[in-house]
Amino acid sequence: MALARNVLLVEGTSDSGVITNLWKRHYPEDQPFEIDVRFGLSNVREAFTGFLVGSEVQRLGVVVDADESLETRWPGFYQALVVRGYRPVPKKLPGDGLVLHRPERSVSTVGVWVMPDNQDPGRLEDFVRDLVPVGDRLWEHAGTVVDQIPDDLRRFRAIHRTKAHVYTWLAWQNEPGLRLGPAVERRLLDSDAPHAVGFVSWLRRLFVEGPVTHPDDVVGSR
């Protein structure tokens, strides 16, 4: 029998870097899951369906960006789970992330986390913004500068304002242009911030802990 795998599907390498380093700061021992970078939402979605229908994966998680809204992101995953017999699935994505234990299914534990916080629109960088130490003056200055860019020079869309802010701030550290993962590793980003702690505890529920009853969930039923 092939060794059972635990897989976390993500959209890009930044997701992978942040998640690996957040986990490492909380649990320096081996990471109990492999991160599978699928490059883009549609590939993540297909891979999620693909892994659900049959593979040696035992625990399967997915991290995607909400982008414009959670309401457009969550239903696709809800649907995929229901079609594959995972029942019941909560209609509304729980604020602390979805973890379903279905021991009778081939993939016995599934999890979904929608960046930044399973509620608001946004993406990985909006999640990361909450890991910037409270009162960091460079952060505030970077924000001011980003907002002062004249309209005719601003090349990013308004929706990416936080992303521009995060990377501007990273550009001005003592090692300019660190990527997000190393920024967590070097503690520029606070892995004990509430959002980070919430995310790591979702990872733990998904990949480490046994079945627990979630308020929206009836363990063992189909």
Partner: protein, 359 residues
């Protein structure tokens, strides 16, 4: 069974066959590929299907016991030891049959209401003499109680040792089984005789041309005074060339294609499909199987260990709109029963596009 529609299982339930304590498959396609860990029960599943297709006639038990390497003496003596070996071989067909002898029973069929079911029970003592038992040892000897649909018969285990009746030579609509090592030459010759100079000869030659484009014709000739071996006429060779000199692939294809055309309106069962077939030809072989499965009304069941084979199957299945291909992944649960994860063509498209290895 309606003969014009042939044998077709829309779903499957197997209880108590060899490694299978219990297995249910909600939905089967016309072409089915089974994957799963070693010893999960893939070969047992094919054996269950062989018994089912033959409606449990005694000869089917004999065929299966011989393939598993049990030597069945055609005329056992009266020594209890020889009979003991036979009884043990029969017991081994049942799940748990090697550790207990009472209450052994198996069942193969579709889900309730979707067609007849085959049931077989092993009784430690038969109730009466059987007409076809010249030895008259059946009474008091272990017996199989075989039920198919509403019909029940009792067969003394000793009758399994008799010389086979040549049912297989005269009938189709049974299962034709291709073992991992291929069909032996003697049996290949018989299968050839049943199609040569008929319309079914052409699909066999076409299948072989997947690997040997220059193939003109095929025959079987006597070699060494007794065995019949397959020989080919090639475009660029004046003399017949023995197939055995032409590589594993051609011989595997001959087994599969001859089995296919002989399985009309029945089952084609292939254990370890990929054996001998280079990955570059597997897709085309699957395409031929999908087309023939439709034309000949054959339901196909194959097993594999190979990811190449699954990909080839998925590609052929996706391109074959009229024929359902399904991939079934077998897994053993903690209570020792089996479950399957069943992938239809849409699922197959996803797993191949995303390179998700299902094995």
């Amino acid at each position: 069974m309606n003969d014009s529609e042939g044998l077709f299982l829309p779903s499957l339930r197997v209880e108590g066959v060899r490694a299978i304590r219990s297995l249910r498959i909600e939905s089967l396609g016309r072409v089915n590929l089974f994957v799963g860990a070693n010893n999960v029960g893939k070969t047992s599943l094919l054996e269950a299907l062989r018994l089912y297709a033959a409606r449990g006639i005694p000869q089917a038990f004999r065929d299966i016991l011989q393939v598993r390497g049990n030597v069945l003496s055609p005329t056992p003596g009266d020594s209890l030891e020889e009979w003991g070996i036979l009884v043990e071989a029969v017991q081994s067909l049942f799940h748990g049959g090697l550790s207990r002898t009472d209450g052994l029973a198996l069942q193969v069929g579709p889900e309730t209401g979707e067609g007849p079911t085959l049931t077989v029970q092993l009784k430690s003592r038969g109730t009466s003499d059987q007409d076809d038992s010249p030895r008259r040892v059946s009474a008091g000897f272990p017996a199989l109680v075989i039920g198919y649909g509403d019909e029940h018969t009792e067969v003394g285990v000793d009758t399994l040792a008799l010389q086979p009746r040549p049912y297989i030579e005269n009938q189709v609509s049974f299962a034709v089984f291709v073992p991992p090592s291929g069909i032996d030459e003697g049996r290949l010759g018989t299968l050839w005789d049943r199609v040569t100079l008929t319309e079914w000869e052409r699909p066999v030659l076409e299948a072989l041309r997947i690997i040997v484009p220059g193939l003109r014709g095929l025959s079987f000739i006597i070699e060494g005074g007794r065995r019949r071996v397959p020989v080919a006429k090639l475009e660029d060779s004046p003399r017949p060339v023995p197939l055995r000199n032409m590589g594993d692939g051609v011989n595997r294809l001959l087994s599969i294609s001859l089995a296919m055309v002989n399985a009309r309106e029945g089952f084609l069962l292939i254990d370890e499909f990929e054996n001998g077939l280079h990955y570059s030809v597997q897709e085309e072989v699957w395409r031929a199987i999908f087309a023939l499965a439709r034309d000949l009304q054959v339901q196909v069941f194959a097993t594999t260990h190979s990811w190449d084979c699954i990909q080839a199957f998925a590609a052929a299945s996706n391109d074959s709109a009229e024929v359902d291909g399904m991939l079934h992944r077998l897994e053993r649960k903690r209570d020792d029963s089996l479950r399957t994860v069943d992938l239809d063509e849409a699922d197959l498209a996803v797993i191949t596009r995303q390179h998700i290895e299902v094995r």
